[in-house]
Symmetry: D2
Subunit: 366 residues, 4 copies
C-alpha cells in the first residue's frame, strides 16, 4: 500500500490515506517521491478558491522523485531512456491537446481547455496523481526531466513552481541586459522573479514586499533595493522607486502579489513606455480601480497578463537552476520540511507566511 | 495681414484675429492654408481639458497647405526640395529632442518631454503655429511631406489625425493577415482603425459604436459587422462578439472611445492570449474597475497603451492613404466645411457628433 | 477498388494502380478526392531530388475531398463534427510529435523530426496517403478544415501549397501596412507571396520573374510592378528596384525561386536594415557566393530562412482565401485539369512551366 | 599647444603633431584625455581599408577624459550639468540627423548617411576630433556620459568599442536566460559578446578562437568551453559544438571574426530555427560560398547583420560595465599602455594580436 495525504474537500483537514500500488501502463512511470512542494496554490485549494477541482485530491504539483519502474522504454525530454533509480522531476501540466484552436492556431497552449494539472485538477479517485504521497504515477506522455547529479533534489522544490512561473514572467517582461526591474511581492514567485531578473542581466532590481525576513533573504540573492510594505506607505513606495530610477520609474515591473490594489501601485512604478507583468493574480481576490488615461494610455505602457507555464518555461528554468545552483542554492528557499501527517501544519505555515517554502517529505517518519 | 481663428482661453468663443505676415528664418516655410482639421482634441482644448496649453492658441494640428515661400532650400521628408506652389502636409509634433533618455535610450520619442505640437502646445503669441489661419509658419525642422498629385488635399484632412493615430494603434495591436478585430468607438480614430485593420489583412472587423449614421459609413468602408451601443446593452454586445468569433473573442480589440468603462467591456471581447489596445483615453474621463484575475492574468492578455504618434506613423499612414484613396476616398469622412468665422459652429458640431469630420477652410468667404 | 496514380521510383512513369478500400480506424476519415494539387515538389519527387522518400508513393499533398465515412465522431479544427458529404481539406503534415525538444522547448514544430507528410513521406504501401487517388485515408489526428460553402473546391487547389507557404513567408518577412516588397519568383509561392503582401497592406509590390504570361497574371492580382528576368539583366533589375524605392531598395524581399544566385540579387534589392526571406530553396540546387561585409553586415539585414508550414499557417491562409476568394478567385491559378492517367503529362507541364497550377481530378474519365 | 598623434595617410607612420587649443562653442566641451582606445578599426584605418576617410585624422574613437571647460551649461545624457573635473566618456557617433528616411521612417539610425564618427570620419583639419590627443573637443550635441566614481577610467577603455558593439550583437541575437551561445572570434568584440551572453543569462557559452592566451582569458571571464582554431580543424569544431549542444547546435551563434569563411562554419554550428548574428565583417575581406538550401532555408535560421551602435547600446553597455566592473574588471582587457609617440607600436601590436586591448595614454612621458 502507498500512503498519501488527501484533501477531501475544501476547509477539511488533510488526511493520510492508503492507496493500492499504481498499475503501470505502457509509457507510464512510477516514482518514489523524494520531495513535494507546498505552495500558495495548495492553500487556495484548501480554501476552495479554485474552480472545478475534483476533490478528493492528492495535492503536490511540483515534485522530485526516484524512478521505481517504467512501462517499457520511457524517455525523458532530452530523449534519454529512464532507468530505475534516476532522480527526475516532471511538468505538472499534462494533457495539453495540441489540437485545439488555442494550441494550434493561437499557439497559446497555456489556455488549452484540455490541459490537466497534477495535484490540482486530477482526482485522488484517478490514482496517485499528486506529490503528497509516497509514490506518484506518471501517466504516459507526462514530460519528465532528469535532475542533474550536481543538483540536490531539495533544490528542485526550493525553486518549486515559483521558479518556472517567474521564468515565464521575466520572459513576458522582456527583462534583459541593463534593465531596471521592480518586483512586487516577496513570495516564491516574486523572489524568483527578482533572482531571474538579476541572472538575465538587469542592472537594478528593487523588491517591494514583506516581511523583513523575506526581504533579507532577497538581499542575499543579490536584489539591489528592498522596500518593506509594512513600513513604507504606498505613495512613498512609488516615490522611492521613482527616486531610484532617475525619476522615471522602472523599465519593467512584475506583479507577484495576489493583491488587486498592487496593479495601481505597480503601474505608477513603471516608466512611460515600460512593461507591467501581471503574474500574481492567480485567483479572484477582487477588483482594482484604474485611470485609463493616466495609468495606461498616456503612459504608453504594455501590461502583460501571464498565465501558467508551458514545458519550455519548465525545462529552461531547470537549466538555469542547474547552472547556478552551486552559487544560489535554491534549497535555501526551504524553511521547513513536513511529513505527510504534518500537511495541515505545512498549509497553515504557508498561509501565515511563516515559511518561504514548505516541503513535504513523504519518507519522513510520522 | 493674416486672419486666424484664435482660442483665447477655455470656454471662450473662438475669435478671428489679424496677425502680421510671418517672418521667414532659414529653413522655415510659409504655407497658405488649404484646409485644417477640427477634431475632438480641439473640443477638449475649448473646454480646457488638456494641461499646460499656452492660451491663446491658434488650433488646427493637421493641415494641408501650399508652399508660399521657403527660407532658402528646404527639403521634404523624401529629400526633395520644396518649391512655391507645392501642396504639403506636415507632422504637428515638432521639437522632439532626440537627446533625452526617452528619445535615445528608451527609443520612445512619443514620450519626449521636449516635443511641442502645432495647434495645441504652441501659443498664438509665438506666431502662426496652428492651422485655423490663412497661413501657417513651419519652423525650421518641421517634418514636411508632399501630397501626391492624385490625392485631393481634402483627403488629407478627411484622414486627419485619426488616420496616423489609428495607424499607430493597428501597429501596436499587431493586426495582420487573418486577424479578427473589434474596434470600440466610431469616431475618426475608430473608423480609421477599422479601415486600416481591413487594409492590413484582417479577415473579420467588428465595429462597436454609434450613432447609426457612422455605423452605416463604417459598413461602406468594408467593416464586417457593426454593433450599435445605443441599441444593444453591454452584456449582449460582448455575447455578440463572442458569437461572431467562435466563442473566443477577437484576436485584437482596439479601444477608441474615450470612455473609461469601455476597457471592462473591451477586455471581455478579447480572446485569451489576445491583445487589447488602449488609444482612445486621450484625456482624463475618470476611472474603470477591473478584476485583475479574470480580466488580465487568467486571460493572459496584452494591454497596450498607445500615446501619440511619431513621424513614421504619419509618413506611412500617408503612404496608405495615397495608395488607396482612389477607392476609399478619405474626403468622404468630411461632413461639412467651415470658414474661419464659423469655427465655433465647427466645434459645436464636432462635440454633438453631428459630423464625422469637420474642416476649416480659411479661404471660404465669411 | 480505388484507383490511384503511383510514383514507383524516381524517373519512372507514374502508373495508375488499384488499391483496396481503406479500413477506417476510430478517428480516421475516408475522403472521396475532388481535386489534388500537382506542384513543383512533385516534380522534385519525380526526379528523386528529396531525401528519404519511401517510394512507391501516391503523390498529392494538398487536396480537397468529400467526407465518405468517419471512424466514429471526428471533428474539424473548429470543433465541428464531420458528416458524410462535407467538403474538406487537410494539413498534409501529420505526426508532429509535440514532445521533442524542437516541438516543446524551441517551439519550432516545422523542424520536428517525427513529422510525416501526405503525398511525400508516406509510402503507398501504407495506404491511400496521397491525393492522386480516388480516395484518401486520413489517419486519426490529421488536421481537417471544412471548406466554406461559398468557396469552390478548385480554389483550394488554386491556392495549393503555395498559399500557406507564402503565408509563412509573408509572416516571417513582417509585411504590413505601407511596406514595399519585392518578390523574386513567379511560381505559385511567389505569386501568392505577392498577393498576400498586397492583402497585408503593402503599398508597393514588385514581382521579379518570368515568363511574360505569369507576370501578366501577377498584374491581374494587383502587383504594382513586374520585372521580366528573361528581358532585363541582373544589374538592371537591381537598379530598377532601387529606382522604384527611393534609391534604397525594398523593405522586404521574398525569395521564391529555387535558384541559389537569387540570394545575391535579392539582397542587393533589399534596403539597409531590411528583411530578406528565403523560402524558395526547397531542394539543393547548389551554392551562392556572398560578400558578408556588403551583403549582410554593413547592410544590417535580417535574412530569414523559412521552412515548411505548421497548422496555423494553413488554417489562417484558408481564412484569407475564404475572405477574398469572391474577388481574387484563386481557381484562376489553375491552368489545366488532368485525369489520374494524365499525371505524367501534368508533371511535364509543371516542369516546363506551361501551367501556373496543374490539378489532378481523379473523377475525370480516362 | 596640444599634442596629438596624427595618421596622415594610409600606410604612413603616425606622427605626433601640435595643434592649437580648441575654441569652445556654446554647447561644446573640452576634455583632457585620460585614455584612448586602439582597436582593430584603427589598424584598418592605418591600411586604408575604410572608404571615405578624410585623412589626416586623429584616431581614437572610444575615449575617457576629464572635463576642462564647457561652452556654457552642458548636460550629460542623464541631464546632469557637467563640471570641470568630471570624468566622462562619449559616443563617438555624432551628427545622426534624426531627419532622414532611415532615422525617422525606418528607425534605423545606424544607417543614417549623415552620421560622423570621432577618430574615423572627422579630419584632423577640423580640430581635435579623435582621442589620440592630449585634448578632445566635443562639438555641441555630442552624447556624453559621466563615468561613475567606482569605475576606473581604464575600465572604459578595457571595454572599448568592443563592449557596446557586442551589446548590440547580443541584443540582435536575443540572448537570454537558458540560451546556448557560440561566439566565433576572440578579439575584443568576441570576448565581450561571450561575457555579455553570460551576464544575460546564457547557460552555455562556447568560444571559438585563438590564440591560447585569449582563450584562457575567456575562461577567466566564465566562458564554459573554448575551441582553439589553431588546433582543431573546421569540421571537428562543428562536431564539437554539436556534441556540446545535444547534437543540435547552439541557439545563437555570434560571428565576431572578420573572416568571411566563418559564416559557413558558424551556420553549421547553429541549431535549426536558431539565430546567427554577423557583427565581425566590418570591412570587406572577400566572399563566402553558402548553400541556400542547407545553410538557410531548411535550417529555418535567422541571420542578422549588425552594423554599428546607437546611443542606447553605448549607454546601456556602460550601465552593465558599472554594475559588474567590481567583479569583472574590464581593465584586465588592457595588455599594455602606449604614449602618443608609441602609437605605431600600438598599431603593430594590435595587428599582431600581441595584446587584447591597447591603450593610448596621452599623459605618458615620451
Amino acid at each position: 500500500m502507498v500512503k498519501a495525504a488527501v484533501m477531501e474537500a475544501p476547509e477539511r483537514p488533510v488526511q493520510v490515506v492508503e492507496f493500492p500500488e499504481p498499475v503501470l501502463e505502457p509509457g507510464g512511470v512510477v516514482l518514489r517521491t523524494l520531495f513535494s512542494e507546498v505552495c500558495g496554490t495548495d492553500v487556495h485549494l484548501w480554501h476552495g478558491r479554485l474552480a472545478e477541482v475534483p476533490y478528493p485530491i492528492i495535492p503536490g504539483h511540483i515534485n522530485v522523485g526516484e524512478v521505481e519502474a517504467t512501462g517499457g522504454e520511457v524517455r525523458d525530454a532530452d530523449g534519454e531512456v529512464l532507468k530505475p533509480g534516476d532522480v527526475v522531476t516532471f511538468l505538472d501540466v499534462h494533457g495539453t491537446c495540441h489540437r485545439c484552436w488555442y494550441c494550434e492556431v493561437a499557439k497559446a497552449s497555456t489556455r488549452c481547455p484540455n490541459r490537466r494539472v497534477y495535484g490540482i485538477t486530477y482526482s485522488a479517485r484517478d490514482g496517485l496523481l499528486g506529490g503528497w504521497s509516497e509514490k506518484i504515477y506518471l501517466k504516459p506522455g507526462v514530460r519528465i526531466v532528469k535532475v542533474p547529479s550536481n543538483v540536490p533534489p531539495e533544490a528542485i522544490i526550493g525553486g518549486g513552481c515559483g521558479l518556472p512561473t517567474a521564468f515565464h514572467a521575466v520572459e513576458r517582461g522582456g527583462v534583459g541586459l541593463a534593465a531596471s526591474v521592480v518586483v512586487q511581492g516577496s513570495g516564491p514567485v516574486g523572489l524568483n522573479a527578482a533572482l531571474l531578473s538579476i541572472l538575465a542581466g538587469a542592472c537594478q532590481v528593487i523588491l517591494v514586499g514583506a516581511p523583513a525576513l523575506r526581504l533579507e533573504f532577497a538581499r542575499s540573492l543579490g536584489v539591489d533595493e528592498v522596500i518593506n510594505i509594512e513600513e513604507v506607505p504606498v505613495d512613498e513606495r512609488v516615490q522611492r522607486v521613482k527616486a531610484l530610477t532617475g525619476g522615471r520609474g522602472a523599465d519593467i515591473v512584475i506583479e507577484a502579489t495576489g493583491v488587486p490594489a498592487a496593479l495601481k501601485e505597480g503601474l505608477a512604478m513603471a516608466r512611460d513606455c515600460g512593461t507591467y507583468v501581471v503574474v500574481g493574480q492567480y485567483t479572484d481576490h477582487g477588483e482594482v480601480t484604474l485611470n485609463p488615461h493616466w495609468d495606461i494610455n498616456k503612459k504608453h505602457v504594455d501590461i502583460r497578463g501571464t498565465w501558467g507555464i508551458d514545458f519550455s518555461h519548465f525545462y529552461r528554468a531547470l537549466k538555469v537552476l542547474a547552472k547556478h545552483n552551486g552559487r544560489i542554492r535554491w534549497e535555501r528557499f526551504i524553511t521547513r520540511r513536513y511529513s505527510l501527517a504534518e500537511a495541515n501544519q505545512a498549509l497553515a505555515d504557508v498561509e501565515a507566511q511563516k515559511v518561504i517554502k514548505a516541503v513535504i517529505d513523504p519518507r519522513a517518519p510520522f
